[in-house]
């Protein structure tokens, strides 16, 4: 099989895909084939942790598509991630059935607790996996489309757009905190038991979820890489660098923006949907403005407008976060801020630029 030219010339991308393949095969092998007392044995906990990083990496790729290529600095992308997560979380809640604390097969525990007598209409259908999977794409996509349609048509851009995206995710956070919304209030959705009949606590399920995360990241990366290699990709760069030029060449800039923004939100939604069964909870904290800003920092650290850099940045920063919040929890936010400043000043093109530079001199 011959690879298409757009992929063949993308050496960093091929390296990433190779790494993901090795991960998707190697990580389960290290768990299943080695005895638990072997030093290289990977626990289910570690696998889930890596799976979580891969979900963040997919979110970072979606941020990089709109920021790195189209110049839209979205400070609200975690909202789409969280919405995808909530959609899948609703399915997982319905799967609990009568095994909840209150043993009510029709209502999730938090609704029983609130003395609700019946399921709200917007929970209908979420007992079906296919419906929830569809909503994982549709809900973030629809919000992004409506938001983008109005924002881009009014030609809101630059820092003003960034502020509005922050407000969007903040507003959603406040809304989801309310018990009356019917999404579990500040506790969110949790105590999940199984997905498609497989126990979420079984190692096998966790391995499959991990492999699916790797697959989703690879697929999301490929879709974005393909997109930016088409003519549309060059239109995106034109919009980023000179919106007026693109407009006077005859491009409907606001439509292109809304379309790509929507696609990006869907990717973020998929990332959120894979994240929730692995961490076992989704709550309104995921809408926190800081989460969206963190995602932007991952992209900046890795290298904006490279897609691979987004993945590298997301994995490295989150690894550092896991380590630092364990060792020195109070230092983490300062470290994150310092990292962002350092990268902006010293490595404006991100870590990936180091690799590119070495490649160029080699």
């Amino acid at each position: 099989m011959r690879l298409p030219a757009w992929l063949l010339s993308d050496r960093a991308g091929l390296a990433l895909l190779t790494a993901l393949t090795v991960l998707a095969i190697g990580v389960p092998a290290l768990n299943l084939l080695l005895p638990t007392d072997h030093p290289l044995h990977l626990s289910a906990y570690t696998i889930t942790l890596i799976g979580k990083y891969l979900c963040y990496a997919l979110l970072a790729v979606s941020v990089d598509l709109v920021w790195g290529y189209m110049g839209i600095l979205s400070l609200g992308h975690a909202a789409f991630f969280a919405l995808g997560g909530y959609c899948f979380g609703m399915y997982l809640m319905r799967q609990i059935g009568a095994r909840g604390v209150y043993g009510n097969s029709e209502l999730p525990d938090f609704m029983v607790f609130l003395n609700w007598s019946e399921l709200p209409w917007y929970w209908y259908g979420f007992d079906q996996f296919w419906f929830a999977a569809l909503m994982v794409l549709i809900v973030p996509g629809l919000l992004a489309f409506v938001f983008g349609w109005f924002a881009f048509r009014s030609r809101v851009s630059g820092v003003y757009l960034s502020i509005i995206t922050q407000a969007l995710t903040y507003a959603l956070m406040l809304a989801f905190f309310r018990n009356e919304m019917g999404f579990g209030g500040n506790n969110g959705l949790t105590d999940f038991k199984e997905v498609l009949g497989f126990s979420l606590h079984a190692d096998g399920t966790r391995i499959v979820l991990f492999a699916l995360s790797a697959l989703a990241l690879a697929g999301g990366y490929l879709a974005c890489r393909w997109l930016v290699s088409t003519r549309l990709g060059r239109v995106l760069v034109a919009i980023r660098d000179s919106e007026d030029r693109a407009r006077f060449l005859g491009y409907r800039v606001e439509r292109v923006k809304a379309l790509v923004f929507t696609f990006s939100a869907m990717l973020a939604g998929v990332a959120g949907a894979l994240y929730v069964p692995q961490v076992g909870i989704i709550n309104p904290g995921e809408f926190a403005p800081l989460n969206s800003i963190e995602a932007v920092i991952w992209v900046a650290v890795g290298g904006r407008g490279t897609l691979v850099g987004a993945v590298v940045g997301a994995v490295l920063v989150n690894y550092a976060k896991t380590w630092l919040t364990g060792a020195l929890p109070e230092v983490w936010l300062f470290a994150l801020g310092g990292l962002f400043v350092a990268v902006t000043l010293l490595l404006p093109r991100g870590l990936i630029a180091l690799w590119r530079r070495r490649e160029a001199t080699a």
């Binding site: 298409p4 030219a5 757009w6 393909w226 997109l227 290699s229 088409t230 003519r231 549309l232 060059r234 239109v235 760069v237 034109a238 660098d241 000179s242 007026d244 030029r245 693109a246 407009r247 006077f248 060449l249 005859g250 491009y251 409907r252 800039v253 439509r255 292109v256 379309l259």
Partner: protein, 273 residues
Amino acid sequence: MSELISEFDAAGMHPLVEPVDASHGILLYLEDVSVTFDGFKAIDHLSLYIGDGELRCIIGPNGAGKTTMMDIITGKTKPDTGRVFFGQTIDLLKLDEPAIARAGIGRKFQRPTVIEPLTVLENLELAMSGAKRLRGLLSTRLSKAEWERIAAVLERIGLSEHGDRPAGILAHGQKQWLEIGMLLMQEPRLLLVDEPVAGMTPAEMERTAELLKSLAGEHSVVVVEHDMGFVRSIADKVTVLHQGRVLAEGRLDELQTDPTVIEVYLGVSDAQH
């Protein structure tokens, strides 16, 4: 929803829905156009006609309304009053910027505006008319006919050797030519060119003059320019704008002896140089 999708399908260029009708020999009509910004009359009852295939130079001191006039023609600014028609039938005031571009009006900005990270070829491809619908946009490859169109424009703007170089590393003059090349890829009937030779060397200016002259006839070309030597080298007809209206119109040598023109513009210009 299906309408929205078809709207998206037109993310780029429609084939021209309505052909330009320049059967009366006039391609662009501006009639009694006025626009006021915060009490300042940027354009004041301006009337201007550009003939089909004509090369027209527009001169005037700073603040005369040259750029505002371009903004009105290309849909960036809507005038308070007046009529702007492209040919007999296309009312430009009813169209937005992309629609006007697709109707056949190309605009070169004052500062060279090419997409610097993209190669020269990719810049031209970006500007290509047709194949800009979503399906065309999602292809990664060019057809033979498209290659030939791009090669012809590359040849014409003298950048054949530079096709694969990023536009950002081109010399200033080459960027200006590339942007003119991008306009040509749009296959416009009318080219609006804002200060094409600012910052150019004399040799580059000469080549630009030849390029613009070779475009006239096939296209109508409107050039806004400050450099009198350059204007003299290309234009047969010159319009002098002053305070948002047409002060005089005619051949440059005639205008240069016109006392009012000397007073408002040429005198000032001569004093400056």
